[in-house]
Amino acid sequence: MQQSNAYIITFSVILTVVLGLLLSGTSQVLGPIQKKAVELDTKKQILGAVLESSDLRKMTSDEILAYYDKRITSKVVDIDGNLIEKDSDGNPIIAENVNVAKNYKMAPEKRQYPMFIFHKEGNPDAVEAYIVQVYGAGLWDEIWGFLALDTDLNTIAGVTFGHKGETPGLGARITESGVQNRFQGKQIYDESGSFQSVVMQKGEGRDFSDDLHKVDGISGSTITANGVNNMLRNYLQFYSAYFEKLRSSAGSTDLALVN
């Protein structure tokens, strides 16, 4: 009896339904907790662009969320540097919820670009750094990151990178703080004000401290480094209109004007 086709099919159906219910039930129960974990992770990455990773690791989840609320103001801009507050359906857009991967599939003119403004506690006008979100393709899969610019909108205050599937020990090293710190102090515009971006070089171990646009590379991960370079070059240009607006209003002390 056990070997009859009817038995096998019945057994399989029951097993599938039971396992399916178990898994979807778990997903339902854990969903909200997972959403919070993802949100915390995003905020950690954003803060990672302006804080030392060792300091960030010492903070508890609640401390990180509280710190984020006190020090970060976020907004969303379009490619022309104009503020977007509502999407086409009239729903408010929240910078932290902008799905950069989904936006990446659209034309650059149609994307939403989140901006995270790192400011002194309690005073959103006392800006310390502007953090932008970048996204692109590595060797195997997507890579992303947050890049913080000083108030001169030129010098890099810090970066954090993330990746989905780069090779451990090679391309995956873009998440190491040792690699990310190499970007600090580099500049994205040259003296004449034209855009240069920052470029990770091939090979590793050379000293680029006297070149403001070159960064020491990662040995064995040229393609991931190229991905990082393209991602930075693309997104810094997408944000440049907004930077321009910020800069032109920098003469007036009230930065809130451009906001």
Binding site: Q3, L23, I33, Q34, A37, V38
Partner: protein, 225 residues
């Protein structure tokens, strides 16, 4: 292992941890270790062992999956049609692994990010299916739990040993606590122990694992036939 597939003779009130049952746990630790003797589950042993902390999470996940899978299959062993038993085993393992993955995502997101793909790969870990096929299908639930626990423990201690040496030599730390820095501090400024980059790459795991297998086989005199 002919003893595994043979049905255990039913005795009256066998002690919970009788000699026969203790063997289920002790056997896979050394004499029949899934990694060093059967050389199964090497993929994850290489991939997750650069640091002790993710390795520990991985070890616990594998213990959970193996115990629960062995229990489930053993409970169902008389109902599972033999023609589809492999796919049934796979479905049970895959569901358990997905559960572990979801729990990690909710409560240990950093670990989830670090381990995600390798937790998923527990599904293809030959140790798990090997035990289901060789043991759980023919034995009672309690014995199967012990067997799964033993095999998983045999896997766990090896990957933890590999991770210990890799983290110590490669990153100079143990469970994230900097050991090399502390030692260097004792000898004053200018002295620093160099970490070995090779240990961080998968090659380092091969070397450590090879050494462990070598030492073990020297001691036990095990020879492959």
């Amino acid at each position: 292992m002919s003893t595994e597939t043979a049905q255990a003779s039913v005795k009256q009130a066998e002690p919970l941890l009788s000699k026969r049952r203790r063997k289920f746990i002790s056997d896979p630790l050394v004499d029949n270790n899934p990694i060093t003797i059967q050389v199964l589950g090497i993929c994850s042993a290489l991939a997750v062992t650069t640091q002790l902390q993710p390795t520990l999470v991985m070890a616990i996940s594998v213990i959970f999956v193996m115990v629960m899978a062995n229990l489930t299959i053993s409970l169902l062993r008389n109902a599972i049609p033999s023609r589809v038993r492999i796919i049934v085993q796979l479905a049970v393992i895959a569901s358990l692994v997905t559960l572990v993955n979801e729990v990690l995502k909710a409560f240990a997101f950093d670990m989830y990010k670090e381990l995600s793909v390798f937790v998923g790969l527990i599904i293809t870990n030959c140790i798990v299916m090997g035990r289901l096929e060789a043991f759980a299908l023919g034995n009672k639930p309690y014995d199967s739990i012990l067997d799964g626990f033993g095999s998983a423990l045999g896997y766990a201690w090896i990957i933890l040993a590999v991770a210990f040496f890799r983290e110590l030599l490669g990153s100079g730390s143990v469970f994230g606590v900097q050991i090399y820095d502390a030692i260097s501090g004792l000898f004053g400024e200018g002295f620093s122990l160099a970490t070995n980059g090779l240990m961080v790459s998968p090659v380092g795991a091969f070397i450590i694992l090879g050494l462990i297998i070598w030492v073990q086989r020297t001691k036990t005199g095990y020879v492959e036939h």
